[in-house]
């Protein structure tokens, strides 16, 4: 936690995607996409609707299996991986449409993010005995640290379904953080938020990156947010990679401007 800020600088490539293609029937969702993510960076994926952004995230955490191409994550090259394998390798994510357990409290929802770190058996968990008890206490402490970090103490015991949308997004981020991920995938973390909520969320994303050194890949439509937050941006359009670079480079890229503003054919 007290690492020198020099350590926080962007490191080596942690995730490399090479020539990824994904088809659904006749639709080419992703077409020979190649890009990489470096350690500790905030990498944005932008593009018009239907450009394949969410599909790309789904490929990274193993929900979709690409038809072609390879993924190299932390030095291991593979084509296919199942979601729980991705999770156990330190990849966590949030969803475009909030996917929380609405009837459960904030605390319990974030606790579910710890599932993979729980080792006690079913029986001892039921009896809340021995190692299960110790484990539960440890996990609770971790979860409380996240609650403190995200400043949601006052809603700790509130069922998620009763919370405002912006707060639900924050809880979802909390659950992803509970897995202590190395790579955090955020699918439109600021969709549907007002300006103040966006500011809060941006602050939290930067803090996560800064405090925990987490690498972050995020999909976002708000260009102001993307340009302010991210170190590098990749631009997709019709499943193709049409631009890649720092926010300034991308902003000046003609193909990107055309994709966003439309072009006469």
């Amino acid at each position: 936690m007290n690492a020198n800020p020099a350590d926080r600088r962007i490191g080596d490539v942690i995730l490399k995607m090479e020539n990824i293609s994904l088809t659904f029937g006749g639709v080419k969702a992703l077409n020979e996409i190649s890009f990489d993510v470096c350690e500790h960076e905030i990498r944005a994926i932008i593009g018009p609707n239907g450009a394949g952004k969410s599909s790309l995230l789904n490929v990274i955490n193993g929900v979709y299996h690409p038809n072609e191409g390879t993924i190299t994550y932390k030095g291991n090259t593979r084509r296919q991986m199942r979601p729980h394998e991705a999770a156990s390798q330190g990849i966590a994510r949030t969803f475009q449409n909030i996917a929380l357990f609405k009837g459960m409290t904030v605390l319990d929802n974030i606790m579910t993010g710890r599932t993979l770190k729980m080792h006690a058996g079913f029986l001892s968990q039921c009896l809340y005995y021995g190692s299960a008890r110790r484990e539960e206490l440890e996990h609770r402490e971790k979860v409380e640290q996240i609650i403190d970090f995200l400043q949601i103490e006052s809603i700790r015991k509130t069922p998620v379904g009763r919370l405002a949308y912006g707060l639900q997004k924050r809880v979802e981020l909390g659950r992803a953080l509970a897995a202590e991920p190395e790579l955090l995938l955020l699918d439109e973390p600021m969709a549907g938020m007002n300006v103040e909520e966006k500011q809060d969320m941006s602050r939290f994303i930067l803090d996560v990156n800064d405090e925990f050194g987490t690498t972050i890949v995020l999909i976002e439509h708000d260009m102001g947010v993307v340009m302010d937050l991210s170190d590098r941006v990749v631009v997709l359009d019709y499943g193709r990679n049409i631009g890649d670079g720092t926010p300034d480079e991308v902003r000046g890229n003609q193909a990107v401007i055309d994709a966003y503003l439309g072009v006469a054919h």
């Binding site: 409380e144 609650i147 015991k157």
Partner: protein, 669 residues
Amino acid sequence: MSRPGITKREERALKHPDTGGRGVADTFPALLLHHARLRGEWTAIREKDLGIWQSWSWSQVAEEVRALACGLAAQGFKRGMNLAIIGDNRPRLYWSFAAAQSLGGVPVPLYQDSVAQEMLYVLENAEIEYAIVEDQEQVDKLLEILPQYPKLKHIYYDDPRGLRNYRQPQLMAYDRLREIGLEHHRQHPDLFHGAVAQVRPEDVCVMLYTSGTTGKPKGVCHTHAGFIAAARGDMEFDGFTPDDEVLSYLPMAWVGDHLFSYGQAMVAGFTVNCPESSETVMTDMREIGPTYYFGPPRVFENLLTTVMIRIDDASRVKRHLFHSFMKVARRCGAEIMDGKPVSLSDRLLYWLGDLLIYGPLRNVLGMSRIRVAYTGGAAIGPDLYRFYRSIGINLKQLYGQTETSVYVCKQATGAAKLDSVGRPLPGVEIKIAGNGEVLVKTPGMLKEYYKRPDATAESISPDGYFLTGDAGFLDADGDLKIIDRARDVGKLADGSLFAPQFVENKLKFFPCIKEAVCFGDQREMVCAFINIDMQAVGNWAEKRNLPYSGYIDLAGRPEVYDLIQKCVEQINADLAKEPHLAGSQIRRFLVLHKELDPDEDELTRTRKVRRSFVAQKYAVLVDALFGSKASQFIRTQVRFEDGRTGNIEADVKIRDAATYSAAALRINA
């Protein structure tokens, strides 16, 4: 069974814990060490952190304070210096008070929600070089004014979050300061106790800046002797013991919190509980169940508004139960608590109500264990006051100022009256001046205003009385009644009495009214500005499918005006019943297009209305009220939270309200 290191006198004190260290310890650091010796393992303070209540015993607190004091000493903090303390109620900040005092320095708490420029004045005035603050928010403010005030050399922060990349040489983490202190103590083991022994009762123990209803804030200097005398007087009056529990949630810079969470706690040795955050106070209060509670009327008002909103949302059966039993409570609840004669049927009904409504309600409010609760700082609306007493909460009023350590008058249990603030406390003398102003001589009198001999001379009469600036009188029972600020009490053009605060407080009891400002001095009638309560009125509008886009829109709705008019007319009917106030009935009113805000200087930090400032700022509206217009256009500059300014404009409608017969009769006569 005598314990090592405890004198005979202290052993007596242990058997009679209510002595509050009298004769053993006469300064705050000495009191701290006294409790640490006497009841070292008892809990002194708690804080909810990571969802769990963490406790520190008196001996742990003494060690923490020693470490902090030694750290400050190692950093060059000396006797006679002032230490700024800024943040929410945190144990470490309370310890900072004791640490500064141990070294003969003076703690100066600042309001944590002040903007940077407001802080600048106090820092300059108090010549602050050292500051202990809570977090990044406060650090940012101090860094912002650093170029204007380079004298500030040391800023210590409790919560390091977000501060890792700050490289300013003035900054240091509290943890680091503590380590330095522990090391310094190892090298100089006699330093702390030596310093504490040098603190004298007549030294200044704290400087509290007044909220500045008029002019620049003034630093009120209290001595150890004075503040401890006040706290001890309170303890004896209400019988505080080390078993009492309080929740400290009020700004640390307010004299109320300083007396309640620091002064009285240090004297009586009770437990102070710090909430997890300012948003969790309600939950934390339920978990702790304090036995002693203190809040300005506003806090009680907000609690009641929350309850009323939730009752409105409840099912019909529950609503009916609540309202019918509240009628019973209003009729006889306070009387039963005061032990007055009440008919058997009412007693039975109240007992049933207690089982079904009042008990659960007290529990929801976190007030199940309350032995004594006080309100003060502003006049409380009689209806609000009666509500709490009727559900069995021993809410009493007290009267005092920052300058008198809030030690002037208190209502005794069983002798609480709606319209008085109680009798003078032991050792207090009260005189009423020719103009009706209340003059006070109290053991808790201030020493002086910091560097303001002129103001000190103006406020303390040559024979030693403090001029409170409040108008009031002692009634036949010897109880003090406060009408208003002496300079606010006015006369209408026809010579009848006009007490604006009295009327405003009546208005503010309605859950839908957040703020009210009445005008009428030297005029022929009384008119009012109303601020609606966004939460309550918003809820009300939602229920009626009344669409609105925001505050301005909602405030201008005719339906809302109808709602407010009903409230105003009800107040008029009440006023008509009181002969000397019948002239104060409100003839015309308007609903203001924006909320009055401390950031715009319309309210003080303790949320008192700055009447003359408001009258000046909205002069067009005041003129329109006293004229005959039905609406008035106004453009107002507002400052947003991020510092930008903008204009809001609105066509504010003005309504006439019905006044009642008593007034009509008087005018005809």
